[in-house]
């Protein structure tokens, strides 16, 4: 309700400035002998929200800090709105940032925090007051504007930090795992809130996270990073359904690794021929990556035989859906099905497994074949 009111109000008042494109060109960053960024290329369209996703140490935070100017690049360029800012110090970059750690200035009220960037830009006091108030309203904290950080909850602090970053009308908004210090419920609320605000002000945004759910839920495009490089940059659904590499498939969502044989443009897994996402590749043994939700179960009859017959060894309740672990004798398969169906298969049940004929990705690194 309040969100709706804010939305219409802010649209008429906050007069957002034109969104700009942000380009990272061949960015390199070295820590000693470790290469944190190894030639990262990424273009974020005007007003777009790109999430960088990856395990810790993959260079995603380094990329963000290079855009912010908090670290210096060893090579490459950062271009914001057509302007090369690679050599500009952080305070002249015009990048609003929200940090993982609580970063409100403890000696200032929420309002003073939000107005700080405007004060640095020598905005007149009256205008400062107006804009800071507007921003706090945008994040739904107008009533808390006189509170200090220690009087605000973690979620509120991060919302003030968001308002503070946006108050300076930055060319680019940088979010460095802003939700990871919060508990689960607040996290998903604030995640949706960040997206709403971002769409409203239209600021080009780079969001760094290690939480795939967060990235998939909020981003226009998701960039999956590994060892200082982008493995794949695509819309969330594409990243999930058509992962470019085995790493992406396994990092985003759960994946079953099932041994099979590639023959004539399809992979044969346990007697089932599955189409390939990427055509081509020589015939021969390979590992198919199959999503748990592309597997279904039915009760085994006494007459059932074949390579897809197994025994349930675990049942994990996840809410609306459940994850069933099935032992096929020489392999273990994770199956994700609606909880209502899963209750029929307690541990020990003999089941017949079926693979949906979705296109799958294959990998040939034999070391990782499920035993």
């Amino acid at each position: 309700m309040t969100a709706l009111v804010t939305q219409t109000d802010a649209a008429s008042r906050s007069e957002p400035r034109a969104s700009v494109e942000v380009r990272l060109e061949d960015l390199r960053r070295q820590y000693g002998s470790v290469s944190a960024l190894d030639g990262l290329n990424l273009t974020i369209g005007a007003g777009e929200l790109v999430a960088l996703l990856g395990p810790s140490g993959c260079g995603k935070t380094t990329a963000l800090r290079l855009v912010a100017g908090l670290e210096d690049a060893d090579g490459g360029r950062v271009v914001i709105g057509g302007r090369d800012v690679t050599l500009l110090p952080a305070n002249r970059r015009d990048a609003g940032m929200v940090f993982q750690a609580y970063s409100l200035f403890p000696h200032m009220t929420a309002h003073q925090n939000v107005a700080f960037g405007l004060r640095m830009r020598k905005v007149a006091p009256r205008e400062r007051l107006r804009r800071a108030g507007e921003m706090l309203e945008l994040v739904g904290l107008a009533a808390q504007s006189d509170r200090y950080a220690h009087q605000l909850s973690g979620g509120q602090q991060q919302r003030v930090a968001l308002a503070r970053a946006l108050a300076i009308r930055p060319s680019v908004l940088l979010l460095d795992e802003p939700l990871s210090a919060l508990d689960a419920k607040v996290r998903s609320q604030l995640r949706d809130e960040i997206r709403r605000v971002q769409l409203e002000v239209g600021t080009t945004t780079l969001f760094v996270t290690h939480d795939q759910e967060e990235a998939l839920a909020i981003a226009d495009r998701v960039g999956v990073m590994r060892a200082g490089r982008l493995e794949q940059l695509a819309a969330p659904t594409t990243v999930y359904t058509q992962p470019a590499t085995a790493f992406v498939a396994e990092f985003v969502g759960l994946t079953n690794r099932l041994a099979g044989v590639v023959r004539g443009g399809a992979v044969e897994v346990r007697g089932v021929r599955l189409p390939l996402i990427a055509a081509g590749g020589a015939d021969g043994p390979a590992v198919a990556l199959v999503r748990p939700e592309a597997v279904s179960l039915s009760a085994a009859t006494d007459a059932s035989t074949g390579p897809l017959l197994g025994t349930v060894i675990a049942l994990a309740f996840l809410g609306a859906s459940s994850r069933v672990t099935v032992d096929l004798g020489d392999a273990v398969v994770l199956v994700q099905i609606p909880t209502a169906d899963a209750v029929a298969y307690p541990a020990g049940t003999r089941v017949q497994v079926a693979l949906r004929l979705d296109p799958v990705l294959i990998t040939r690194d034999a070391a990782a074949v499920t035993p």
């Binding site: 970063s103 403890p106 640095m120 830009r121 220690h150 909850s153 973690g154 300076i168």
Partner: protein
């Protein structure tokens, strides 16, 4: 269990407090007693030693010089040390230990040894720059480093310097603004502490000033002590009281840090 241990410690604490209290208070009491004696054996107590402080022009000059030195040294210490410590913490953390050792070194060097090194320097300074007593500020800056460092270090570790300064910089603040508007306000009590310690050290300094032939407060007290013991003790008592009042004033300064340490995480 904690409470029981607490109770067991109670008598020990009391003893320590009483013993140390006696150790501190008896000499001060004796000084007060001595400085308020009249001339004859049975003459009544008098404050004439205290009131006649101001009839010694050398002494008042020395008091003013010492106060000026205290102010200069504190200011120079802050300007030099605080940005350095912040910078080292943020940009060259592997140098933190080096800076610490450097800053604590003066504690291990006796003043007399310092003077041996400083004497030729001061000779040069007196000839080429100035022979004002205020040039002692250079030497005192070194003397107060260990105390100031300890205090500022404690203050800085209570603040998330990295995140706060990065946040401020991304909002458009330069380094000077980061230090003065963001870091100092969040460690104000540590800064005050460092200043107070510096003041106390400077007001109590004798060796260096004496050996370099400058007349600061302590040197003046010693000189007058030879002519009029009563007045010299009166000045000593007064300077002790001055530092004590400063300390007391400091303890009434609100400490914003202590209120804010707790961070609540949770409900929106």
């Amino acid at each position: 269990m904690n409470r029981r241990r607490h109770r067991r410690l109670e008598p020990f604490r009391t003893i320590v407090l009483v013993v140390l209290g006696i150790l501190f208070l008896v000499p001060i009491g004796a000084m007060v007693e001595f400085s308020t004696r009249g001339v004859g054996i049975n003459s009544p107590r008098t404050l004439s030693s205290f009131t006649s402080i101001f009839s010694y022009p050398d002494l008042t000059g020395a008091i003013v010089a010492s106060l000026e030195l205290a102010a200069i040294t504190s200011a120079a210490m802050l300007v030099l040390l605080l940005p350095t410590m912040v910078w080292v913490r943020l940009r060259v953390p592997r140098m933190v230990r080096v800076i610490e050792v450097l800053c604590l070194a003066p504690l291990t060097i006796p003043a007399i040894v310092l003077v041996v090194g400083l004497a030729p320097l001061y000779q040069w300074i007196n000839i080429n720059l100035s022979d004002s007593i205020l040039t002692l500020g250079f030497a005192y800056l070194i003397l107060v480093l260990p105390y100031a460092y300890r205090s500022l270090d404690a203050g800085l570790s209570g603040v998330d310097v990295r995140t706060l300064s990065e946040a401020a910089r991304s909002l458009g603040a330069g380094w000077a603004t980061v230090v003065t508007r963001i870091i100092v306000p969040n460690m104000s009590s540590a800064v005050l502490n460092a200043c107070l310690l510096s003041v106390a050290v400077v007001l109590g300094e004798f060796t260096i000033a004496n050996l370099l032939n400058f007349e600061n407060l302590q040197v003046a007290i010693a000189t007058i002590g030879r002519a009029n013991a009563g007045v010299s003790i009166a000045v000593a008592v007064a300077s002790l009281l001055f530092v004590f009042v400063l300390l007391l004033a400091l303890s009434f300064v609100p400490r914003p840090g202590s209120r804010r340490r707790r961070v609540r995480i949770g409900v929106l």
